[in-house]
């Protein structure tokens, strides 16, 4: 019984199951604490804030898988949102698709700048993105033109963008923003599981040296991971602009910390090589849920949010080390006893995850 269970479930899946249970428990708990919690308004508020975070965090996951970090994503989200918003304020005639391309392109350029320095300049990612975090924010503040983007000056489609539904059943509404985020999560989950590029991300993160010796284009893979992270941050910037409309120069300040928290809580290893887009989505859901619910929970002040966020990251990383690693060894060992010939292959898989 236990062995068959072990063969059909991987440790990462147990972790994801725990996350789902935790999210359900939190929803039930806050339902008893906050008046009118189970309403369509609450769902929309929480789901849209999860959506933006999830898109950023999926990009961050790609970078994490290669054993790198990107702490400039908050500034990228802010800068693209602000840049596109300002353009739309000035030129009402910009079609939606052009605005979207503008945001995504700008994000990609900023991601590429990070990627070149990390992959080809051999500067550690934390140094590069600590620097570019300040640089992109400086560009935002110094950007000539008006200092505030205003909702009522945006063209009609941009004002309506965050209110468009893709599914509506009675009171239940699924916003377009949430749909985009779900699409991003599914696409990247498929990319990570089935495309050669996705598998190479895991290979590089598991053992950069071995991947390089094996002839993987290490630099190109890392570079592309940063470009994709920037691109998704640009997309998130577009969604951010649509959702909030009124933007100041402090837009998306500190979002990189939430994104990293989502990635780590979602089960992606800080040592690279383990993680999934779906796990990250669950992480983002947990953090978005906590963030929005604590705001409305009268018992403790909203000022506890960041302290809890930091603690959550530490707990996730520590539990990863204490429990999941041990489970993985257990799994690998039971495989060894079952099928000695398959053991090495399976062990490899269970270490790399999927």
């Amino acid at each position: 019984m236990l062995t068959s269970l072990r063969r059909s479930i991987r440790p990462e899946q147990i972790r994801e199951l725990i996350l789902v249970l935790l999210i359900v428990a939190l929803v039930l708990f806050f339902g008893t604490q906050i008046e009118g919690y189970y309403s369509s308004r609450t769902f929309i508020r929480i789901s849209t804030s999860i959506a933006i975070l999830a898109v950023v965090a999926v990009g961050e996951t790609l970078v994490f898988l290669t054993r790198n970090y990107d702490i400039s994503v908050g500034s990228i989200v802010g800068l693209t949102a602000f840049f596109v918003g300002t353009q739309l304020n000035h030129y009402q005639g910009i079609p939606p698709i052009a605005a979207l391309l503008m945001a995504v392109g700008l994000g990609a350029i900023m991601g590429a700048f990070n990627g070149v320095l990390v992959a080809y300049g051999r500067v550690p990612a934390i140094i590069v993105t600590l620097g570019t975090m300040a640089m992109y924010r400086a560009m935002l503040v110094e950007y000539p033109g008006i200092k505030i983007v205003q909702m009522h000056l945006l063209p009609g489609w941009a004002q309506e963008f965050s209110r468009v539904n893709i599914i509506q059943v009675g009171d239940f509404e699924l916003r377009l923003i949430v749909g985009i985020a779900l699409a991003v999560v599914i696409i990247f989950q498929l990319v990570l599981t089935y495309l050669p590029y996705g598998r190479r991300l895991y290979a590089i993160g598991s053992n950069p040296e071995a991947a390089r010796i094996a002839g993987f284009p290490y630099q190109r893979i890392v570079f592309i991971a940063f470009v994709l992270s920037g691109t998704l941050a640009g997309l998130a910037g577009f969604m951010f602009m649509g959702r909030f409309g009124n933007l100041t120069v402090g837009a998306a300040l500190g979002m990189e910390m939430q994104a990293i928290a989502a990635v780590v809580v979602g089960g992606t290893s800080t040592m690279g090589g383990v993680g999934s887009a779906f796990g990250t989505f669950l992480g983002a859901a947990l953090i978005g849920l906590l963030d929005q619910s604590l705001l409305r929970w009268p018992i403790i002040s909203e000022f506890w949010r960041d302290a809890i966020l930091g603690l959550l990251i530490l707990l996730a990383v520590a539990s990863d080390r204490a429990i999941v690693d041990r489970l993985r060894t257990l799994w690998a060992r039971s495989e060894l006893q079952l099928r000695p010939s398959m053991a090495t292959v399976r062990q490899e898989e269970s270490v790399h995850g999927s």
């Binding site: 300049g121 110094e142 966020l309 530490l314």
Partner: protein
């Protein structure tokens, strides 16, 4: 690299050609530009005033140099500065005697530093992640303590300590900085502990197999880092005479730039406090020059960010170029290639 057998002038020339010589040249250029902008720039009182503006960051940078040489990183110190200042201010506001409040703030620094150290040294988690979590969590605790208010009633003696000169024109913080710098220099260059810091930074596993107590060294470093950060936080609050939740937010950029520009390798194992000292002088003069040119705080941070990237990128490119040249012309000088940083 310079060997001890060479004569003093030769050693000096060799030093000038090194990274630190480059920093000295850069510093002189910046000083010339700044004094051209402002007539009385190079007077003692102006330089002291300048230094005071960055003294807390400089004190922490000395400590972070130890940690980065050790092959780790600490991103939580700016939040910890805020947390210690917040603890002191909140306790004093609640009516706790000022001495006790300061002591409690220092204890908070020690405990948080040891907390970081526990996860890094004992559990073995990456310091980047632990201190990133610390960066968020400690800042979060400041918000819990101070909320969105501003506490401007601080102990009078602490304000005096932060704002008035203690000996001659030099205030307490400046004297403390130089004391730390000298003690730190001696520990790092001449003590057994200092050698261990380098050895672990070069190769942690080799150090452990050679019988070095890696855990103990890392634990001491992180605890000391928390303590130094809390001192710096108290000095910062004392100098400003007020405390808010965002006090010292974003300081990690300047501090890490000071250390890395000073020639400390981000990969661990090399760097000196002499270089860090030179780069502290560069950063504060650059910042001041930008201030004289009416650049906004955010733009200044952007320039520092660029400087941070360049301080790692340029040595990387130079060493890559040297290795390529050596390979092409057959001048294989492994020692020089390896130590070009």
């Amino acid at each position: 690299m310079v060997h001890s057998t060479t004569s003093l002038p030769q050693r000096f020339l060799g030093w000038l050609k090194s990274w630190e010589g480059l920093l000295l040249g850069l510093l002189i250029v910046i000083l010339i530009i700044n004094s051209a902008l402002v007539p009385a720039y190079l007077t003692i009182s102006n330089q002291v005033n300048l230094f005071i503006l960055f003294i807390e960051k400089s004190i922490v940078a000395l400590m972070i140099a130890f940690i980065i040489i050790n092959g780790e990183i600490d991103l939580s110190m700016a939040s910890l500065m805020g947390l210690s200042a917040g603890t002191m201010a909140r306790l004093f506001e609640l009516g706790v005697p000022s001495g006790l409040a300061v002591l409690a703030a220092l204890c908070v620094g020690l405990i948080c530093g040891a907390f970081n150290g526990f996860w890094v040294a004992v559990v073995g988690l990456p310091s980047l992640v632990v201190t990133l979590a610390g960066l968020i969590a400690y800042r979060g605790l400041v918000w819990v303590l101070v909320e969105d208010r501003s506490i401007s009633v601080l102990p009078a003696w602490l304000n005096d300590l932060g704002q008035k000169p203690l000996i001659g024109p030099f205030p307490f913080a400046l004297i403390l900085f130089f004391t730390f710098a000298i003690i730190g220099y001696i520990i790092l260059q001449y003590s057994g502990f200092g050698r261990l810091v380098y050895v672990i930074g070069i190769n942690r596993d080799v150090a452990r197999y050679s019988g070095v107590n890696v855990r103990r060294v890392k634990m001491i470093l992180f605890t000391a880092s928390g303590f130094v950060a809390s001192i710096a936080g108290l000095l910062y609050a004392a100098r400003l005479g007020a405390m808010r939740s965002s006090t010292a937010e974003g300081f990690e950029l300047d501090i890490i730039t000071m250390v890395l520009l000073g020639g400390v390798s981000i990969f661990g194992g090399s760097g000196t406090l002499r270089g860090v000292f030179l780069s502290i002088l560069i950063i504060l003069n650059v910042r001041n020059g930008m201030g004289l040119a009416y650049m906004s705080a955010n733009l200044q941070a952007g320039v520092i960010g660029l400087l941070l990237i360049l301080s790692v990128l340029v040595p990387n490119l130079v060493s890559g170029l040297r290795a390529r040249m050596a390979r092409r012309y057959g001048m294989v000088r492994p020692l020089e290639v390896a130590e070009s940083r």
